[in-house]
């Protein structure tokens, strides 16, 4: 690289105020390092004609070096002081921060197929929306395999399992683009390959996107955040690794052995704690609401429906189950959670891909004791069933981060790392009690936006503080802020009950010996937004294996749930 130092780093005008100091330094340095005792005082031939000029050059060189070292100290470029953009751009590439690999837009798309057969899609496939090209965000070798429902994913290939019913089966695939593109929820996509049975492709949730080209200032700032030790050997290194690979991530918090929130406190035969890390993540899609149809069997003896919910994404909570007819009558259901990961027992598998969920509920009847929607008959199995629409809250971005850490190339060595979703505080409402001066209108939209943005992105080591909310309220026009109250529950599982083995029939779920209730913790105010709760006693049969604390709690609310309540006396 040709750094034109003269054009970039040398000052165009010398500051003559310090020239005598440069001359003095040069004179004394020369005197100390020269064998000849040459007169270099002002007025002497050497002093005036040679050292005088040399000190001007020295002053310029010193300024150039100062400017150059300023470019090397990325604190300055990230604050906007850049002398040589070409150099800084190339320099930050040494820390794997490049403009070229910058992901500027990412999200998840849903592929809908007419049947559930196994398919292979070339990993070089491209998806197009509004003339912008997106490619699959896959980390393992080989092509993308679309598996039939019920097939098991292999952890060394890019596998996605179909879910769905009848003539609509779908699979969610994460994609990204290097072009800045604002893709909105349900935006249609085109595909570069002809794939049999592919009905449609659309976006799930709004895509995360940023401006087309990162400025050198942004790149320098990112390098400072990510480059120091972006690897999985330390807590901060892990955070940097995730932030470098997923610049779109909202929050990331590693929980390690010794932390309150760690549920895997086992020790090995040497008495040393096993190197376990629970990596709690929250992508921009955290809190996405999904609707999927499921088929549930009707049990005539108990007049109830029951069955497993086979869903595309890992639920944070099951919101509603409703008949899939036009009326969409919601049912009052009970849900059951089972961990399928032997190393993440019980509720420690919440927010991972390794769990299964069953539901059970009595068939809703009207006042005349007649089923609102009669069960349908499956003539092939001679059984009754009905199709329901499940609405659940999830984070479709979880899969991609799980895949990244399971990929043979990036799987941490010697560390048992599990990727999990932050434990949500599920809000019905967040009340901000405040006062305002008479005649002053509070800019609620602005305050709501700021508070929501704050609550969505805080993660350990930054913990919740009332001060930020109070600050936003003052800025929006409030004269005082009182209590911040919440109508919310901290969830440690997506279901009502915990089961420890796969249910064989509806009778299994009816027997109280087979399940235990999953607790929900009432959150009434900001004083317990980092609620600590734990149940990890070993050798206890009812151990539920949950642990929550400031490191793994996040907020599940949308801006409409932030309510402003004017209380107290208005200040005149």
């Amino acid at each position: 690289m040709n750094i034109n130092t003269y054009a970039t780093y040398y000052p165009s005008v010398i500051d003559s105020q310090n020239l005598s100091a440069y001359n003095e330094n040069l004179r004394l340095w020369l005197k100390a390092n020269s064998t000849e005792d040459i007169d270099t005082k002002p007025g002497s031939v050497i002093g005036d004609l040679i050292l005088g000029s040399e000190s001007i050059v020295n002053a310029a060189l010193d300024q150039a070096l100062t400017n150059f070292t300023s470019d090397l100290d990325l604190a300055n470029p990230s604050a906007g002081t850049i002398y040589n953009c070409d150099f800084v751009g190339r320099y930050v590439e040494n820390f794997s921060t490049t403009n070229y690999t910058e992901i500027t837009s990412s999200g998840t798309i849903r592929l809908v197929f007419s049947d559930a057969s196994f398919r292979v899609i070339d990993r070089g496939v491209q998806f197009r929306n509004n003339n912008q090209i997106f490619v699959p965000r896959v980390y393992k070798e080989g092509n993308i395999r679309i598996l039939s429902p019920g097939q098991t994913k292999s952890y060394d290939s890019n596998d996605y399992v179909l879910t769905g019913l009848g003539t609509r089966f779908y699979v969610d695939i994460p994609v990204y683009s290097m072009d800045a593109t604002a893709v909105t929820n349900l935006a249609p996509f085109e595909i570069s390959e002809l794939i049999s049975g592919l009905l449609e492709i659309y976006a799930i949730g709004d895509f995360w996107s940023k401006s087309t080209t990162s400025s050198i200032q942004e790149l320098a700032n990112k390098t400072r955040i990510t480059s120091v030790s972006a690897n999985a050997t330390t807590r901060s290194g892990l955070v940097r690794l995730v932030r470098q690979e997923f610049p779109d991530i909202k929050a990331v918090s590693p929980v390690v052995v010794g932390d309150y929130e760690m549920t895997r406190q086992s020790v090995n035969v040497l008495g040393l704690p096993s190197p376990s890390v629970d990596l709690y993540v929250k992508t921009p899609l955290y809190g996405t609401e999904m609707k999927e149809p499921v088929r549930l069997e009707f049990d005539d003896s108990t007049q109830s429906y029951y069955g497993e919910l086979t869903l595309q994404d890992t639920p944070l909570k099951i919101k509603t189950i409703a008949f899939s007819d036009e009326l969409g009558t919601e049912v009052d259901f009970k849900s059951y959670f089972l961990s399928t990961d032997s190393t993440s027992p019980a509720l420690s598998a919440y927010g991972t891909s390794n769990n299964r969920i069953w539901v059970k509920f009595p068939a809703p009847k009207n006042s005349s004791n007649v089923a609102i929607v009669p069960p349908a008959l499956d003539t092939t199995t001679n059984s009754f069933y009905q199709i329901f629409e499940v609405t659940y809250v999830c984070d479709p971005g979880l899969k991609i981060i799980e895949d990244f850490f399971l990929s043979p190339d990036t799987k941490p060595i010697g560390i048992d790392l599990k990727v999990k979703l932050f434990r949500p505080i599920d809000f019905t409402a967040l009340y901000i009690n405040h006062a305002r001066k008479r005649g002053v209108k509070i800019n609620q939209a602005k305050a709501r936006e700021e508070i929501n943005s704050y609550l969505q992105t805080i993660s350990w080591p930054e913990s919740y503080s009332d001060a930020t909310i109070i600050d936003s309220m003052f800025y929006a026009g409030a004269s005082n802020v009182f209590k911040i109250e919440a109508d919310a529950y901290l969830l440690v599982g997506p279901c009502d009950y915990l089961i420890t083995e796969e249910p064989t029939s509806i009778l299994f779920l009816t027997d109280e010996d087979n399940y235990t209730e999953i607790p929900k913790f009432r959150i009434t105010g900001s004083n317990n937004f980092a609620y600590k709760a734990k149940d990890t006693e070993t050798n206890y049969p009812d151990n539920k294996h949950y642990a929550t604390g400031p490191r793994n709690i996040s907020f599940l609310l949308n801006s409409n749930q932030i309510l402003f309540r004017e209380v107290g006396n208005n200040v005149v």
């Binding site: 003559s16 020239l19 005598s20 440069y22 001359n23 004394l28 005197k31 000849e36 005792d37 040459i38 007169d39 005082k41 002002p42 007025g43 002497s44 031939v45 050497i46 002093g47 005036d48 005088g52 000190s55 001007i56």
Partner: protein, 123 residues
Amino acid sequence: MTGVGLTITGNGYDFNFNRIEGNESFKQNIIVTLGTSVGSDIVYPNKGTKLNIFFIGKNYVSQTHAQHLANFAAVAAFNFYSQFNEDNLRLSKIKIDASSLFLNSPNLKVNVIISENPDNFRN
């Protein structure tokens, strides 16, 4: 301390490339400084005197006035060189005799006294 010798004339100076040693070099520096217009050196803005302005242009009205101007120039040069004592040489006195101008001499007479230590004055 070794310097390069100069031959100073009414028209300026020439290099004579003689080695001048010790106090001789320092004295030559002071003579150069007395003849330098103050502000003309960007490295040392306070180096120089106003002797040039007054004496070459003959901007004085009397011998007394000329001696005053010469004294001020001597003080300026003395103050300037008082900061350079790294050779254990201390400038003790600069005296300019302006009366020579009125004795049809083209030159000012300058006495420079430099001491190595307070007890050993050298002229």
